[in-house]
Symmetry: C2
Subunit: 199 residues, 2 copies
């Protein structure tokens, strides 16, 4: 077994979980450039070498902690229709962004991204990975004939998520389940109209 | 004449322009909480009392500088069709966000918003004002029968702008004129499908 590989229920898995929680806690409470592997290790109650052994850089660690949180918080629905899949996914994103912790973490990560090209590149990679996980919703919709066959998943997912992040980050308006439903419906209407055809 | 009222071409107008430029420069280069009326006055080459006489708080000044920049950078088009109006508006937003200064200012303001409830409230007010300026595009589209009569302007404008800010701030992807055209087309398709009906 490779050193540092997570065994479910084992010490490595427990340490990983503790380090990820500590990473997100650090992100939620202080600017990205004030966070260090050391501050995360201290918060997680593990030795810093335990963290360094597995993640060489803060960017690696933040990227993986975000990916793990996204996977556990935002399940990819498979309800049988694209309408419901998109609405359920959008509701999950909205619930995450509307929660105090979700809002604080998101604002904090993105403030970090504003100040650092490194964290922007972490974010870009994170979103590319997330996109490949949720693209399956569009693939299934195409297979069922619910959207045009040449619909590109990326723009659909961006169109769906963007209005929610925009309300949180830009217009600072409240974020409700009705906003989620509207974002999902708008993305689907545009997809059906052929706006998101692959180029 | 009220003290501090801008006379076009007069000393007050020149001072106002210099203070607004200095405010946006400060926003683009340092975190919001490190900016002060004093640092803006120094950069603008005016005495700080000149600034304080007209703007009581940093939030007032930032809000007005942003509004002035938005008005001068983003003209509200009136081309005769909603398709073109939305595409032109979206291209202006995209060009602003894709420029190094526009990107830096936007990131900086929004990083400030992440850290400060005050700047979030400035932003919310700024966006509400901007919305009322561009809502006329939707009003004209309704009058021409191009979108359903009960279309609410706010969601249309959010749907159009959101994917552009999302690419800049969240996914950190490049922002091209093609993205602008797609965002405009998606917002219009959803509007035509009745997704943005007023509640």
């Amino acid at each position: 077994m490779t050193p540092g590989t997570a065994r479910p229920g084992g010490r490595t898995a427990r340490n990983t979980a503790a380090v990820f929680v500590a990473t997100l806690d650090e992100i939620a409470v202080r600017p990205y450039d004030e966070i260090s592997i050391e501050s995360i290790a201290t918060r997680a109650g593990v030795h810093k070498t335990t963290v360094y052994r597995r993640w060489r850089t803060k960017a690696d660690l933040v990227s993986q902690a975000l990916a793990a949180a996204a996977e556990s918080l935002i399940e990819v629905p498979d309800t049988g229709t694209v309408d419901t899949d998109l609405r359920v996914l959008c509701r999950s994103v909205q619930a995450m962004l509307a929660s105090p912790r979700g809002a604080a973490t998101t604002r904090s990560v993105l403030a970090g991204a504003a100040a650092s090209a490194e964290i922007r590149s972490v974010m870009a990679e994170f979103w590319a990975t997330r996109l490949s996980a949720i693209a399956v919703i569009v693939d299934r919709a195409i297979a069922r004939g619910e959207v045009p066959a040449d619909t590109a998943p990326g723009p659909v997912m961006n169109a769906m998520a963007a209005p929610l992040y925009y309300r949180l980050l830009v217009t600072a308006e409240p974020l409700t389940p009705a906003d989620a439903d509207r974002a999902a419906a708008a993305a689907l209407a545009a997809a059906r109209a052929g706006v998101f055809a692959a180029e």
